[in-house]
């Protein structure tokens, strides 16, 4: 399938020298260095279907960027296999480069001293994009990202938000089926963030591009991702939809109901526990791993009891991921 990503047992090990404390320790390390293997990515397996947007999440140092670097052909894995749009990225780097676009939020891939427009023209030549196609695509990106107001500015003079928007456009000018985004909205203001998110939604929904996104911004995940892969210490901790993740780690929702008849007997429902009762006020919460989502629980409560009012307290994705990271850390 064009545009899909297959990752099988991907592992990347770096060998580093252990720094012993103190001056004597430093000298000992110089004479007799102790080398240790650090598994930045360890035996990771997942797939991304063509046209899917997957969020690759994890705390700092979890192995997200290393994974993306292997899938973009920057790094060669120590073991395991990966295919991006049918190409093994680290074996056929240049062929893979034609199939992918990549944005690393903290670094630009544009020519620092050249105006944006000329950087785009160079990329057109490098990727052999026909002139008419290039012009049409630039028009489309301009409409979505508002590039024309700074397209004659040198990259070194752009603000962060302008620069990342240009990097996004540059990454997609050759119409790649697969896009890798490593923290693309880091440091942006909310207006530009929203503009970028809208652009990404458009690229997935209208253009059918496959997107692999890493971010620490959970609002971004909620608004863009259908599926999430969670990694920690280089290992895959979870691969599932946002609902599944909420079910697994988001055990903090509560449904508060006011009963029409305060004497109605109340008990637990399937997967739902009664947390407390105070006259007509009852509070339900999730019960065990098979607990329903908050929306399903709400439906069950309303169907089972006659209520005059309901309220829902739901942990946001930030809380859910905090729990997920904490549990992953404890494993």
């Amino acid at each position: 399938m064009i545009g899909n990503i297959e990752v099988r047992g991907l592992t990347r090990t770096f060998h580093t020298t252990v720094r012993r404390p103190g001056f004597a320790g430093a000298l000992r390390s110089l004479v007799n260095p102790e080398r240790v293997a650090k598994h930045a990515v360890s035996d990771i397996t997942f797939d991304v279907a063509a046209g899917e947007l997957l969020a690759l999440l994890g705390p700092n140092g979890a192995g997200k960027s290393t994974t993306i670097k292997m899938l973009t052909g920057i790094l060669t894995p120590t073991s395991g296999e990966a295919r991006v749009a049918g190409v093994v990225p680290y074996r056929e780097r240049e062929r893979n480069a034609r199939n992918i676009g990549a944005v690393f939020g903290q670094r630009t891939q544009l020519w620092w001293d050249l105006p944006v427009r000329e950087s785009f023209a160079i990329l057109r030549d490098i990727y052999d994009v026909p002139e008419a196609e290039h012009a049409a695509r630039l028009r489309e990106f301009d409409e979505l990202l508002g590039l024309s107001s700074f397209s004659d500015t040198r990259v070194r003079h752009l603000s962060l938000g302008q620069r990342v928007r240009c990097d996004l456009a540059a990454a997609l000018l050759h119409d790649p089926p697969v896009v890798f985004l490593d923290e693309p909205t880091i440091g942006m203001d909310v207006v530009v963030k929203e503009q970028v998110r809208e652009f990404l939604r458009h690229q997935v929904a209208e253009r059918g591009r496959t997107v692999l996104l890493t971010t620490h911004d959970m609002t971004e995940v909620e608004r863009l991702a259908e599926r999430v892969v969670l990694v920690n210490h280089g290992r895959l901790v979870l691969d599932g939809t946002l609902d599944e993740i909420r079910r697994t780690f988001g055990s903090t929702w509560q449904v508060r109901a006011t009963l029409a008849d305060p004497h109605t007997p109340v008990g637990p429902l399937p997967g739902i526990a009664l947390i407390r009762r105070d006259g007509p006020q009852v509070v339900f919460g999730p019960d065990g791993p098979a607990a329903p989502t908050v929306h399903q629980a709400l439906k069950q409560v309303i169907e089972r009891y006659e209520v005059t009012g309901v309220a829902v307290d739901e942990a946001d994705l930030e809380d859910v991921m905090r729990t997920a990271y904490a549990q992953a850390e404890a494993v």
Binding site: G63, T76, A97, W111, D113
Partner: protein, 268 residues
């Protein structure tokens, strides 16, 4: 290199040059620094011409051919392949990662990262020196000698590129290896202008077989001026200097490819 790749490289070079032109003061300062950087060579040539009649058994006019050849080879190296020098910074800034994302050889992208304005200064000094050296030369400049001189300059360019490509290959793994590049530049500038037979035999041997500095300009100048049999190295080896440059460059490019395959990146 396919036609389209040449066209793209030319286009990027023109844009980079235009970008440098827009910062007028910086542009002129870079040209000046390129020329001033060679002040030691200019002083050497001036002292040689005004105070000495020769050096190490060579006439002044013959000796002058050594710095002229080296300077011209160096100026062309800076112009065409010089961006490989000082690559450690690009590696630490993660620019190599960006190059690996484009369907273009990384080495070519390194060379196209900016226009080396200082090469204009280098080449201006080098051309002046070469014109002076040829003007004072007593040799009969036949087509064969001219061809050999051109081959020697190109060989010197490639040899210098080979040395810095080897350092850059090491920098891909150990960015601190960049310091070796600075030392190499210093070494080439310091010893590249002399007939190496004036140095102690061990040092001459080291600069021939350890760091092949002798092949850049000393051996070709010796062959051209009839000192080819007194260099301490076999004549055929001295005469093959341009070829040594080519072979060294090709080997360095293999080393580069191997090192790039083992690139570990920065920041995880």
């Amino acid at each position: 290199m396919p036609v389209n790749a040449v066209r793209t490289a030319w286009r990027i070079t023109c844009l980079n040059f235009r970008a440098q032109l827009e910062y007028r003061t910086e542009f002129l300062m870079n040209i000046a620094i390129g020329a001033i950087w060679q002040v030691s060579v200019i002083v050497f040539a001036t002292v040689l011409l005004t105070r000495f009649t020769g050096m190490g058994g060579w006439d002044t006019s013959d000796v002058l051919l050594i710095p002229a050849t080296r300077m011209l080879a160096h100026g062309l190296f800076v112009l065409f392949l010089g961006r490989v020098h000082g690559l450690g910074r690009s590696i630490q800034e993660g620019r190599i990662d960006a190059y690996l994302l484009r369907p273009m050889p990384v080495y070519r992208q390194v060379q196209l990262q900016y226009f080396p304005t200082n090469a204009i200064g280098d080449l201006t000094v080098a051309m002046g020196l070469m014109v002076g050296a040829l003007g004072r030369s007593h040799l009969d400049w036949t087509a064969g000698r001219i061809s050999y001189l051109i081959a020697a300059i190109l060989g010197g360019l490639l040899l210098e590129a080979a040395l810095f490509t080897a350092v850059a290959s090491a920098s891909l793994r150990f960015p601190a290896a960049d310091y070796w590049g600075r030392w190499l530049e210093e070494l080439l500038g310091t010893f590249g202008s002399y007939p190496l037979n004036v140095l102690p035999r061990a040092v001459g041997g080291l600069l021939t077989y350890g760091l092949p500095l002798a092949f850049v300009a000393y051996f070709p100048a010796a062959v051209l001026t009839g000192h080819g049999h007194t260099t301490g190295a076999p004549y055929w080896l001295a005469a093959a200097s341009p070829l040594v440059g080519l072979v060294a460059y090709l080997l360095s490019r293999f080393l580069w490819r191997w090192s790039l395959g083992h690139y570990t990146g920065v920041n995880g």
